[in-house]
Symmetry: C2
Subunit: 370 residues, 2 copies
């Protein structure tokens, strides 16, 4: 199957190792193995490294379920990451010729993966002037007889868009009459679990994917999952036999430790987010050429700059000169923005932002961008 280059991920792979100030990674500062293991007494030395429980360790599923308001073990199946979970959902539920609705600026997997499966894809806009909301009317007008799935993230990468309960209800109403699936990547959801909504708790055809990679600070475990109705899980399990067998007992066990102790991790990360949001707000007041739509619960924002510099050129130049690392807006289909992550070390974040502002002011005087 033909597929387009994944611009954001290729950019990350190509440049991330050069970063001194990584301002764009959307994971919260990663934990060490020791930090993780210290959360639970006893080292799992007797763990037999066989395939383990095929759809995911039961105790892990029980901890995953605590992130949701509804469901039981039959509603959960594990995958190596949320990206992988999204892939399986689209592989299992979509056929060539189906119509899919996604949103830009957004995560490229959501529109280019279904395109690679032979689907027709409509990309609607997140509107910056409306705090990066999408238009419910535009969704309504875009729904066709063959519309099979809406794919989005909430909070969304890179815009930070998060749907309210009312918006979810409106979207579900549009979808329910035609049994249109809503696949929602919820990797950025849950810092404050009581206040954030999962589509899988609201809608029979709503599919929530998530992982330990973002708000749980454990991208190195590569552990994700799907929560959905059993008739959807069953289809994923059939496909999974062709692609992975299991996530394995080691990752399942470590994931279980993380989720069992999630409040420690989330408390740390809420404090990081709050500190970085405050730093960002002060910085924006001092640097009027930048603006952003802030969402209380989103560790990712899309930073707009009012300078006549293409975003790819800006990003490569500031990385080269100062070691400041961003993913450019062009990787998400929108110029004059860079993706800013709010989950890294607050001191480093503050220093990076200050240096970036200083560099920007100097850079504007130079000629190499004009």
């Amino acid at each position: 199957m033909k597929i387009n280059d994944f611009l954001c991920e290729q950019w990350m792979t190509e440049y991330e190792t050069e970063a001194i100030y990584n301002m764009t990674d959307t994971s919260f500062q990663a934990l060490s193995l020791q930090e993780l293991l210290s959360m639970e007494e006893g080292f799992p030395q007797d763990l037999i490294l066989d395939y383990g429980e095929i759809t995911g360790k039961k105790a892990l599923k029980q901890e995953i379920l605590k992130l949701y308001q509804t469901g039981n073990e039959e509603n959960i199946v594990c995958f190596p990451g949320a990206l992988n979970a999204n892939q399986h959902v689209m592989d299992a539920l979509l056929q060539a010729g189906d119509h899919v609705i996604a949103f830009v600026p957004g995560y490229q997997q959501f529109y280019d993966y279904p395109l690679s499966l032979g689907c027709e894809v409509t990309c609607l806009s997140f509107h910056e002037e409306q705090d990066w909301k999408f238009s419910m009317d535009e969704v309504k007008e875009s729904i066709r007889k063959n519309t099979k799935m809406i794919v989005l993230a909430s909070p969304s990468n890179p815009t930070g868009t998060m749907l309210t309960k009312q918006e979810w209800q409106q979207l579900i109403e549009l979808c329910a009459k035609n049994a249109i699936y809503i696949l929602c990547d919820e990797v950025y959801r849950g810092l404050d679990i009581e206040k954030t909504i999962s589509v899988s708790d609201l809608y029979e055809f709503g599919i929530s994917t998530s992982s330990l990679s973002k708000i749980f600070s454990l991208p190195g475990l590569r552990l994700g999952w799907v929560k959905a109705a059993p008739f959807i899980i069953d289809q994923l399990v059939i496909r999974r036999d062709y692609t992975m067998i299991s996530t394995g007992p080691l990752l399942d066990h470590l994931g279980w430790i993380a989720l069992k102790n999630k409040e420690k991790i989330l408390e740390r990360n809420r404090a990081i987010l709050k500190a970085n949001q405050m730093t960002l707000k002060s910085w924006l007041q001092e640097n009027k050429e930048f603006s952003v739509v802030l969402n209380e619960f989103s560790p990712v924002v899309f930073l707009k700059y009012n300078m006549d510099i293409p975003s790819a050129a800006l990003c490569t130049q500031v990385l080269k000169e100062k070691g400041i690392f961003f993913v450019p807006g062009t990787c998400f289909g929108r110029e004059y923005h860079v993706r800013l992550g709010l989950g890294r070390d607050p001191k480093q974040f503050e220093n990076g932002l200050k240096l970036f502002a200083k560099w920007s002011k100097e850079a504007l005087k130079k000629t190499y961008f004009s």
Copy 2:
């Protein structure tokens, strides 16, 4: 994408937990986490659980390369298991309408996954009367203008078929003129690395996939890889951005420990295989209703029985009555066989075989199979 149920894997998932004598798993007895960690000094407690090296840890790739005669880091990319590696190879290189050649009785992924991608698939036979070899003439006659890939395993699951160097050369000669890819799942290759051949060492369009799950006794790590020419690896890397990002630094590190100390693991497993092969040979002499094609290096064989009992009925009944677990031949498209694995504890293997023979003799007298 529609896909058929994966019969062997579904059978394993449904029944494996009921096994007292697991006679059919094709992995060598799995190691514990402690057994693995004890092979190398120092616990990796400082390991930061971030994404790690995107295409796989360099030190791990260096150890993987020692399993091959040619290549460098540019020839390797890591995946969560060989099954997953196979999936990525087929996703990246095949288009709907391409023609694929596979072999039966064989592993269902090799023919039903390309079918799910919209490919035309020809299944040729492994011929039991010719020691489960396939016919080179049949391959030649099956090649069409749109033939894009031949998919097989060597040693093959469940027949144990292993291509000689001469057979590889004949097959490659047939493929080279049309640049037909040969995807070879080599998870059962390497117990005696000097004496077993990788297609990736012989052919520019040859793609070797493998993992730690079978001969390295570590299915629980879910770590596999592809070795192929860089122009193929590049296409896999593009697709990987949509599906997984990385295998993560923890699995890469543990995999590195395993391969750095592979001789310890392989020595143990060669001894297990030899013991079980000897047990099997004696058992076959005493139980003439069974026969098998043995391959010195294959931990999987396809046990033929001369009894008028459908294989699925035989397998469910012997599991229910005696806790003896096999996958039936029907899961591989061939009746009157069961898959026998030679990698588990030798005492257990011997007891299981004896009990199975005893049960068979009694079962033949009963009426529930007739």
